[in-house]
Amino acid sequence: MSWAEIWPLLWQATLETFQMVLPAALMAEVLGLALGVLLTLTRPGGLLANRPVNRVLDAIVNIGRSLPFIILLVLLIPFTRLITGTSIGSTAATVPLTIAAIPFVARLVDGALYSVPGGVIEAARAMGASTGQIVSKVLLPEARPALIQSFTVMLVNLIGYSAMAGAIGGGGLGDLAIRYGHQRFETDVMIATVLVLLLLVQGVQWLGDWAASRADHR
């Protein structure tokens, strides 16, 4: 294939990847953040310590993280259809991507918040801060660099996962590589796709590292 033929394909596939990954990333960040905050607060010794709730949340996160994405993709087909009205295409792919990323984000957020020194939280409590104030004014802002890092890791993961979304007609770069590069032996398409993926992941990681270090005043 000539470059003139490859370019539009690549461009289209990159757009599709973004269409799948970005909405999924944003939704997963919001829901994963909430789940992660709850995990931290309900830990033994936490501000809302509650062992049963913590155990259940922990189990949900572990199960969610241990399911291979390709299995999740198939398992979620009925749910996806319920939400988007279809089980095929890049909009449909957003649903399993979001679901897969939520527990992932939750675990990273939990870790990030756990790293906020206990003394700082005690200080806020002794000032009379409510739990909501501690979360919004102390925990989240103090963990901001680690939260940015975790968002970056999630984004990179989702770009990887999105390649599998081709399996349900989601399109995107991974799909392009499989259909042209693998099934039609178009090696140059394969190489071009891999290069774009590589640049994309590098770019996201670089941007994330930059933003995290800018946000970190420690």
């Binding site: 020194p117 409590r125 009379g128 004014k137």
Partner: protein, 333 residues
């Protein structure tokens, strides 16, 4: 002219001197943490006079941290009463407790500053929690930072400050809500001696200017000596003795107090028959020095404090008994 003696009971309550209501009153306070066999505080009774600078000293495990957690509202007593400015801290609604907490300033050993906020942002935090508008809280914070000598450091992050500067930010933060009680929990333990002295001086000065009650919790007798008017010695969750600092350090009645006084015993080579004695001298005048020379005593270490000169003497054992007779303030054997 006749002297009119009014007993407190004949005065209407509003006319009572404010010092009549202690800043803090522990009455038979007991606290045991879940899963612990030994109570952290066992029937502790202790009064902190309003407007005093009170040192609370004890070895580790004496119950100091628990006392701090009770005063700062992070724990409540299992039994007994803790009255803060006459209010029973164990009976407060959560709203009243927060109100109380905003009137108690806390200074911590490890500063506990928010790393992602500037000095200014740290000092405004308590006001932010109370919903004070941004302009007012920033103006107040700038004023306080200037008072602790950090007027030019408002925009710095804690990582860009020295230990002493961080603690000054911590003190400014503790004062943000204009508290009546300032609680310094081992506030100088993480600092070098020179920086510690500066912080204690600042605390003392602020206490005087603002008519605060300052409670200094520490394991170091030097801190008590340098900065307090009153002292309470805790051991194993109980009060072992208390009183005015000068009097108590001059005549320690309990072995724990003596042990704490001896904690910074200097290392020195003693001649045969010589012993080391710790005394608090009024001064190092020629008269005092002559008296010491008469005993064959040599000064090993002398440190001046507002309360006198903290001195370690090496002298012949036979003469040691005569120290007290010299009207020196012997601090302990």
């Amino acid at each position: 002219m006749s002297d009119i003696a009014l007993s407190p009971s004949t005065l209407p309550p509003s006319a009572l001197p404010t010092s009549a209501v202690p800043a803090l009153q522990f009455i038979d306070v007991r606290k045991t943490y879940p899963g612990q066999a030994q109570p952290a505080l066992r029937d502790l009774t202790l009064i902190v006079p309003r407007g005093s600078r009170t040192g609370i000293i004890g070895r580790s495990g004496a119950g100091k941290s628990t006392l701090v957690r009770l005063i700062s509202g992070l724990e409540t007593p299992d039994a007994g009463q803790l009255l803060i400015a006459g209010q029973d801290a164990g009976q407060l609604s959560s709203k009243a407790r927060r109100e109380r907490q905003s009137h108690t300033g806390l200074v911590f050993q490890h500063f506990n500053l928010l790393a992602q906020r500037t000095a200014l942002g740290n000092v405004t935090l308590p006001l932010e929690l109370l919903g004070v508008p941004r302009e007012r809280r920033e103006a107040r914070a700038r004023e306080l930072l200037a008072q602790v000598g950090l007027g030019d450091f408002a925009g710095r992050y804690p990582a860009q400050l020295s230990g002493g500067q961080k603690q000054r930010v911590g003190i400014a933060r503790a004062l943000a809500t204009d508290p009546d009680l300032l609680l310094a929990d081992e506030a100088t333990s993480a600092l070098d001696p020179e920086t510690s002295a500066g912080i204690l001086e600042l605390l003392t000065q602020l206490q005087r200017e603002r008519d605060l009650t300052l409670v200094i919790v520490t394991h170091q007798m030097e801190v008590v000596r340098a900065a307090t008017t009153h002292v309470a010695v805790l051991d194993a969750g109980q009060l072992v003795e208390s009183g005015e600092t000068r009097a108590l350090l001059g005549h320690p009645g309990h072995e724990v107090t003596r042990a704490l006084l001896d904690a910074h015993r200097p290392e020195v080579q003693l001649a045969p028959g010589e012993v080391l004695r710790h005394v608090n001298l009024k001064d190092l005048s020629s008269q005092t020095l002559a008296a010491l020379a008469g005993l064959g005593a040599r000064i090993v270490l002398a440190e001046a404090h507002p309360q006198g000169v903290d001195t370690w003497l090496a002298l012949p054992e036979a003469q040691a008994g005569l120290l007290a007779a010299l009207n020196l303030q012997a601090v302990g054997a």
